[in-house]
Amino acid sequence: MNTATQPVIETLGLVKHFGRTRALDGLNLSVAAGEIHGFLGPNGAGKSTTLRVLLGLIRPTAGTARVFGVNPWDDPVRAHRDIAYVPGDVSLWPNLSGGEVIDLLTGLRGGADGNLRQELIDEFEFDPRKKARTYSKGNRQKVALIAAFARPARLYLLDEPSAGLDPVMDAVFRRHIERVSRGGATVLLSSHILSEVEQLCDRITIIRSGTAVETGTLGELRHLKRTHFRVTGLAEPARLAALPGMHGISIDGGAAEFDADAADLGAVLAGIAEPGISGLTVAPPSLESLFLRHYSDRNTAG
């Protein structure tokens, strides 16, 4: 493998035990240069632990981790040179102002780009003079995001970065992700919200109980995406079973509930379009239901 195609992040069989808890259980993760990689999993799946291993803050029990080809435990300083990090639980110094914290965190990495810093503060509508103890969860998150984006980096490690942000601020955040990505930076974005990852990411790894269960581009993972329908007033609900890409049909009188594969949505919509229907609810799939189905599918197939 030559340097041009060498992954920015690569872990092989990463294992991390905390006492009797297995936080990571043979995790394989590969993030190529320049991609925005979604790291998706439910609470407690091992996302934050992985990011801490990648920063060399904790030592893996077994397996290897490489960031820019460097073992982050052995040489954290070299690995960190081009990393911007947003922790999952942003804790600040209560008696420092937001502006001071931003300058501290960027200063330790070599100093902020002054214009960029001001631009971020304006866009996030952030008041840098207030003492950190007065900030809400969203404002603490803004401090971490401004500090991460106010200086160029080659790799952005973001642990549930939009937690606590309102939709307007979330849009600002996404704009900056896209900006650094256009500049060629690599982004690893952990989340438990599928829609967030979908909108931003080129590739996705799904982690569950410390193991990567799926990895690929959105297209490759399309088979995981199913939309949930609830329809009332169908003349012959039993007819639904004949449509393509249908799963888990349940019929209760005039109401029918089912999941449909994303690839077959057109055919399904055509199939249920009839004069008599009186109600239609369509819900995007939640990550949990996706996991549950993913496993039950695997079990029935196996």
Partner: protein, 539 residues
């Protein structure tokens, strides 16, 4: 009412390790002191000898308290009460702040505030818990004294005296927690008030009037300003004075009620001291580990320096005064010249040396606190953001050790300068006043050993760092102050770094001891830097 009890029990459960450690530790100290006195000063002549020695020496009066006649119980109370009361005060203030201002700062109070109970319910529960903890402490202490062979009524009275001082500080800390903006500052202010109570009592006792039998001293007025002074007036083993107990409990009730009234009228998390906005940009040095460490330590350091300055000023200014008081009693002149080499000048030196020794403990404490701040940074999740920067952990711990060592130097220096100024202003020339500055600085090497040892614990066993960091200082203090009384073997007493500091001006400066301590401190610091690299960041 059942809700209140539930809250108090919940708080007690959170303290299920901390409180027993405090209570058993204080009880053990009380028991050890009394059994040591029973074995070493069991008969009246030896009791009279030690009491006379103490009564004529203001340093003893300042550090320990008032001699109150012979009898094993009276000697135990004189030797141990002031220290025990300080410990009960610290146990109480930390207990209260932990459940009040710290909870508010971290948002837990808000969560509990949503239950259908009155606004001040959580504070009231904390006050109940504090009172219960001190009641249990009083009973344990009394049981320990009885087990060591002291008379029962006196033992109960002595336990009550300590418990009442503790209860007073429960109330006072509750009031302090209403005013201070953070748990850390509330702890600092409340602990500072405990220290001030000890200092006022010390000044009052050192200026006290010696009875003609040379076995009793009655305190001067500053003692009346101190709850520890009031506790001492209880005199449980000789002439019990329940009025002093009532004064303490009434004062405790007064401050506690004030705290509850403030809490009822204010917002959750509200800070009574005005909060200013901060600066928009970091100042010079605000973007480095050293700058951050300094920023986090400076207000704590200011507190320690104020304490050290007060101690130094007392040492310098009061020494001549107290020695004059003692020496003006004509029959004592001859006695003192026999007991204390150098007569009145010697007496001043002994007093100054003892107080500068305490300032050395302050220096160690300031340094330990700076080191332990790293643990707070780590446990509260801030170290993660710092160490994600391209700077090594060695630089982080190094920066904090630098500020910690600087704190120790600053505290010692402040004490020395204050002592020199005090002695200079008092107009007594027993030698150049400036010589008290190096006398205070002589304690720096021992302080460095303590803070470096705390850094090793932090680097190797982070979860134990608070317990062991302060525990080592407490151990050093007990070895230093009580080692001889307990009859501990010399090698064990020698474990304490304080034993190897030069006790100037009584002793000459011992460069060998200072160098050895400094070398040990450097070695420990090196070990800490090495070990921090090898462990996980641990919440």
């Amino acid at each position: 009412m059942p809700g209140l009890l539930q809250l108090a029990l919940f708080q007690a459960r959170r303290d299920r390790v901390t409180l027993p450690v405090w209570i058993l530790g204080i009880t053990l100290l009380g028991f050890a002191t009394s059994s040591a006195v029973v074995t070493q000063f069991g008969d009246e002549p030896s009791q009279a000898a030690i009491l006379t020695l103490a009564a004529t020496n203001p340093a003893f009066l300042f550090l320990r308290g008032l001699p109150d006649g012979t009898g094993v119980g009276a000697v135990v109370f004189f030797q141990g009460f002031a220290f025990t009361a300080v410990l009960a005060g610290l146990m109480s203030t930390f207990l209260v702040v932990r459940h009040t201002r710290t909870d508010e700062e971290l948002g837990r109070a808000e969560f509990l505030g949503s239950v259908p109970l009155p606004r001040a319910a959580s504070l009231t529960a904390t006050l109940l818990l504090g009172a219960a903890a001190n009641l249990i402490l009083a009973m344990f202490l009394a049981a320990g004294f009885v087990a060591a062979g002291l008379p029962v009524p006196g033992a109960v009275g002595a336990g009550a005296a300590v418990g009442a001082v503790g209860v007073f500080f429960v109330g006072l800390a509750a009031a302090v927690a209403q005013v201070m903006p953070s748990g850390r500052s509330a702890n600092g202010a409340a602990a500072g008030l405990v220290g001030a109570a000890y200092l006022l009592r010390g000044v009052g006792d050192a200026l006290g009037t010696l009875a003609s039998d040379l076995l009793h001293v009655s305190s001067a007025w500053p003692s009346l300003l101190s709850p520890i002074g009031w506790g001492q007036r209880l005199r449980p083993f000789t002439s019990p004075d329940l009025f002093a107990l009532l004064v303490l409990l009434a004062a405790a009730l007064g401050v506690a009620v004030a705290a509850v009234l403030i809490r009822r009228r204010r917002d959750v998390g509200a800070i009574l001291l005005p909060q200013r906005d901060g600066r928009e940009r970091a100042g010079v040095g605000g973007t480095s580990f050293v700058g951050l460490a300094w920023r986090l330590q400076r207000s704590t350091l200011a507190g320690w320096c104020v304490g050290a300055a007060a101690l130094g000023a007392v040492a310098g200014a009061l020494g001549p005064l107290v020695s004059e008081t003692v020496s003006s009693v004509a029959p004592l002149k001859e006695l003192i010249s026999r007991l204390v080499p150098g007569g009145q000048a010697g007496l001043i030196d002994v007093f100054v040396t003892a107080l500068l020794g305490v300032a050395g403990v302050f220096a160690a404490a300031a340094g330990i606190q700076a080191v332990l701040r790293m643990r707070a940074e780590e446990a509260e999740g801030r170290a993660e953001a710092l160490l994600a920067a391209p700077l090594s952990r060695a630089r982080w711990i190094g920066a904090n050790l630098f500020i910690a060592a600087g704190s120790a130097v600053g505290v010692s220096g402040t004490a020395g300068v204050a002592a020199a100024i005090g002695l200079g202003l008092s107009g007594t020339s027993t030698g150049p006043a400036v010589s008290l500055v190096p006398a205070a600085l002589a304690h720096i090497p021992a302080a460095l050993v303590f803070l470096a040892a705390a850094a090793v614990v932090f680097a190797a066993a982070p979860r134990l760092s608070i317990l062991l960091g302060w525990g080592m200082l407490a151990g050093g203090l007990v070895l230093g102050e009580f080692g001889e009384l307990f009859g501990l073997p010399v090698w064990l007493q020698d474990v304490s770094p304080f034993r190897h500091s030069s006790a100037m001006p009584v002793e000459p400066f011992d460069p060998g001891g200072a160098l050895a301590l400094a070398a040990i401190a450097v070695a420990l610091a090196g070990l800490a830097v090495y070990s921090i690299r090898r462990r996980d960041l641990t919440a």
